[in-house]
Amino acid sequence: MTAEAYPVLEEPKTFFLAPLSKPAPGSAGKTGTWRTHKPVVNLEKCTGCLLCWLYCPENTVIKLENGKVAIDYEYCKGCGICATSCPFDAIEMVPEV
């Protein structure tokens, strides 16, 4: 079926609340506070293969313009999957102080 076949929305006319949500960055709060260990990228060793970017379940590995990566510490939960997935040992998990 084509999109044209779909109807337009019509606003409800009674008090209305539905179990809807829209994905948005940080909709679960600043999850960076959950970390006990933080990933630190060694840019010398990073080859820009982007495996960490692919594996990060939280979308907190940022692609840099130079082809390498950085971490969004606002939302990184510190799970360590990036460090485990890195074939070049370029990411180290450092305890949070």
Partner: protein, 404 residues
Amino acid sequence: MVVKTLTGNYAVAYAVKLARVQVVSAYPITPQTTIVEKLSEMIEKGEMNARMIRVESEHSALAAVFGAASAGARAFTATASHGLLYMHEVVWWAAGARVPLVMAVVARAIGPPWNIHVDHQDIFDQRDSGWIIAFAQENQEVLDLTLQAFRISEDPRVYLPMMVGLEGFILSHTMAPVDIPDQELVDSWLPPRRQPYVISPDTMYSMGNIAPDEDHYMMRYSMAAAMEAAKQVIDEVDKEYGEVFGRSYGGLIECYKCDGAEYYVVITGSWAGDAKKAVDSLREKGVPVGLVRVRFIRPWPRERLLEALSGAKGVIVFDRAVSMGSVGPLFADVAQTLYPLGISMKGVIAGLTGVDVKPGVFEEAIAGFIKEAEEGPVFVPSEWLLPRKYRGKYPSIPREVIAR
């Protein structure tokens, strides 16, 4: 406009076609199967522009149409008995998500033992889910009610799914004349599909994610508000339908021979037709009795019932379902509605599991109640009307009689 002789199930199928439903999904179960068989045939012949989704169970059937409806399609499914029970989880999801949807329920007894005959237990089992639930009396009403269901469910004051109940075999497999309206007339009356939101890759909504308890509570509250609003919508839609198609049924309730009545029968479904024959016979004998047929179980027509029954001396309710350990579900709602009137009331459990109830049986029960009530006010929450061949052969369940 063309009059055809149709089974109740085919009447549903024609209404679904006229409503230009885009997605159908169902799993076969007696006595529902011929609805989707007919629809499948219509789609296959190119008479209907819809997609039939084949599934492995009723749970998936409702999930599939729920998904299609969330994505913006006018969608339909049908089931019965054990199939409906298997759907039960998704029944709640569809209502809680506020997705307009129509489902035909061909009422059938629940096993064990295996039984394909009618009672109302399956549909009453969905009573609290947030669906609008209606029951038809005749095949013509089945078609009209199914068409109306799309209007009601998709009304921006309502946005709740709706079940159209018809009795297994008694309507579903019984041929009767049905006036099929013209497609152009239906198109002019039934607006394009409306719904509160559409889930698609463009809108990127997610439905059903975790929410704070307080928000969830408010969602329930909003469903209750929609149910209240639906009462007016149902009466309105039925009236408009009458103006366009020449048939209307009284909306939430139908009053039969209510003029001058002192005692009333309250009943729902096709066996109301048989009860009406009993009322006719009693009226001929000078007994002032009328009948109220509850067309909508949910939303419960409290105001309409109170208005219709305000002058009653007594009300007898026939339930074709029972809440084990309590009373019939129809009686429970009638009793809470009429509580302020303080009149005589009796709940009768009959016709369960397909047991045939003839006009004469109704008449006897109604006349018996009136005789009791004339002697003094009575309140009998549930009295089991045993099948004729077993009457007097089993001890009676001690019945609670509360004299007022």
